[in-house]
Symmetry: C2
Subunit: 475 residues, 2 copies
Amino acid sequence: MKNMAPAFKFLQCFTLTLIVVFTLQQQTYAQGAATDSDAALIRKIYDRALTDGRCYPWLEHLSLNIGHRLSGSTGAEKAVAWTKSMLDTMGLDSVWLQPVMVPHWVRGEAEQVRVVGSKKYGTFNMNALALGGSVGTGAKGISAEVVEVMSWEELDNLNERGIRGKIVFYNRPMDATKIRTFEAYGGAVDQRVSGASRAAKYGAIGVLVRSITLALDDYPHTGSLRYDTAVTSIPAVAISTLAAEKLSGLLKDEGKATVFMKTGCQMLPEAPSFNVIGEIRGTERPGDVIAVGGHLDSWDVGHGAHDDGAGCTQSMDVLRILQRAGYRPRHTIRCVLFMNEENGLRGGRQYAAEAERKGEYHLAAVESDAGGFTPRGFSFDGDEAVIDKFFEKIQTLEPLFKPYGLTFTRGGSGADIGPLKGMKGLLSGYSPDSQRYFDLHHTAADTFDKVNKRELELGAASMAALVYLLDKYGL
Amino acid sequence: MKNMAPAFKFLQCFTLTLIVVFTLQQQTYAQGAATDSDAALIRKIYDRALTDGRCYPWLEHLSLNIGHRLSGSTGAEKAVAWTKSMLDTMGLDSVWLQPVMVPHWVRGEAEQVRVVGSKKYGTFNMNALALGGSVGTGAKGISAEVVEVMSWEELDNLNERGIRGKIVFYNRPMDATKIRTFEAYGGAVDQRVSGASRAAKYGAIGVLVRSITLALDDYPHTGSLRYDTAVTSIPAVAISTLAAEKLSGLLKDEGKATVFMKTGCQMLPEAPSFNVIGEIRGTERPGDVIAVGGHLDSWDVGHGAHDDGAGCTQSMDVLRILQRAGYRPRHTIRCVLFMNEENGLRGGRQYAAEAERKGEYHLAAVESDAGGFTPRGFSFDGDEAVIDKFFEKIQTLEPLFKPYGLTFTRGGSGADIGPLKGMKGLLSGYSPDSQRYFDLHHTAADTFDKVNKRELELGAASMAALVYLLDKYGL
């Protein structure tokens, strides 16, 4: 060795170092141990979904034959019975209904919301939907001067002096420059959720909320509010973005406006309902569960097609696709159709509580509740120790999704699977393209015709592929 | 140096090697020299497009006030005049019309295509559109037995004996398992393009072609055919996929079927038309051009909204967005709205010929002709020597698009910019999500309401960002 020329020594050392560097790199990938056979099975999963998927005809039935299905409604009851009957036909190891009590809010007669006596427009109606959970106005309705606010600061500055006896009009729009529309939604939905109580604190008698959407159109978007029990519950309605623009313009031009609103909504006693569950029992670790799901309830307008009929029928199809691809899972793979995501999350909470009680370890849970659009990726979440430890490993599987255009990120997962977080499993949210979602979200326009068959199927395939990999490699 | 312990020597060498490795890696990125200021300008471009874009209202006008615009039609004439008038308002350095003679094919009266005397269904109409360029059937129409073929091999095996005097029915579907639908289109469109002449060679008197789409519905999809001048030109029509399925089923059940078809289409003398062009003159190299475009013509049904009104209005907006972002380009940035992509490519050829004649080097050309859907990436093409040399460099810019969800691939670019390939510039095709495109392509359903505002705007922003980077860094 000592006779080697320095150049040769360097070369030798250089080569050795390269080997070290590349071996380290290889090891990272080896952790996930993704193989050619994984790629082949994933290809088979997509082929199945695209040529023999059931999610689209299932969603057609759920949308057109059952329709919307708010917790406690007959629609929800029918949806429970019908999805269970579909799972029953699939030759699963077990299908059952998990009882859960749910809030039962009803909209009542159609909302009347109008500007009265504008100089320019006279009296005109605005397209409106009461927010879910809102109290009604009483049979006579309410009428008051409107005060527009764009921020909490503005509200607080107006204070009782500016607000008492009035109707507060929240008109802060979603931020169009956010690329992921969920981020923009997150920056505006606080008005809908807590606007009523925050205005009531200053003596407001009602609120109007600009619909939480980037689209400028005439669809009002409902969605849940949360009352602060320390103040009076006042009625709250969403108005369409076009109505909001018109009202805002009128306030600028005329200085003031009077709005009449009448809603007949009320909260009835809690009602019995169910999560709908089906599973394929694991061959090696049947006590460990990988759950995949969406929420079966929807708002009481439209079909609830994207929100979240899509996620439900995709989750059902995940089990069917894995069966058809001839895959026998090591862990128990469970499809869960959660009840009451929209106005209570009772189904998600009940499911997690039961799992806890039975000691069913949830290795992973995957939720599809962002629409049935073209797949873009998965986001991964979990208890901090879990996600910190496993995200890197999960990332080694990401290249398997490259041919299908999906990427992995860290981020939120899904409302229904959130309560499982304490069980230290991995949580994942399926992330389809987000551009069209909030055009339809919680409106009469969220109908079956807005769903593209292939996009829905590609989502089911992507979820099945992830479930397969999680089952094969564990955490 | 000679007293150093071997371990220290190794460490020194290891460190040196790492420095070499990482420097090499850095250099690759340094070639593209993407900087924070690039990221900031690109952010500005997206912000502009999403809050102050014009592509959507422009497309609305083009779709609803002008409508479809096949080469030689009054629609095409109006589209030329109107898009020029819009470019004229933009304060560009130059706007002009580039004359080009185009084919002038007309559909004539509505197609009649029906199965006659089925045992099961009796006589029934099929939704059909003559293929672009097809000859008409004559006033009496034609009637003959139908023979279904799924492949060229099947056609050749049937031969004259099985085909003479008959109507050939091409029924090979697009392959649903392809993730990018353009690949599936490429595997089926040969039936539409050369089916008529290949059947005529064996004595067929007409052809029916299953619409080239993955959707199962009742929209027939037109599109151009190419006649082989060595054989008789026979009439060819596309039938909807549902009609194709019904006819195919009937042939299986009943053994045979007779079809009557009547079309009134004809080829008129060539007509004068124009490419519509506007440019911002480059500050440093005004003789070098970066072109961005789409095609202004469309088929003679629907609005030609996705194909390719979207690409035209996005290309116009690219110039406007760059102006509004305060960017002064080094090279000349030119928006080109090509005439006659659909049935002749005369505009693309004329444009390249003129550029050649004037010695205008086209550093790059970017085309948007795959619909106005959510952005997924760009594909890059060019003369072999060019693309081999520059793709690696281009890839160093890809990370700048990560926040917007775009990736770079090698592949085709666009039909209209293809003739520029010989000029040794870079060609790029904007690649939006492909799942919905062929549901609408060349049909009466390709209408403005199918376009999502944000998806269109995000496309314009993505194109503007790419044009900016190509302008800044050259090749």
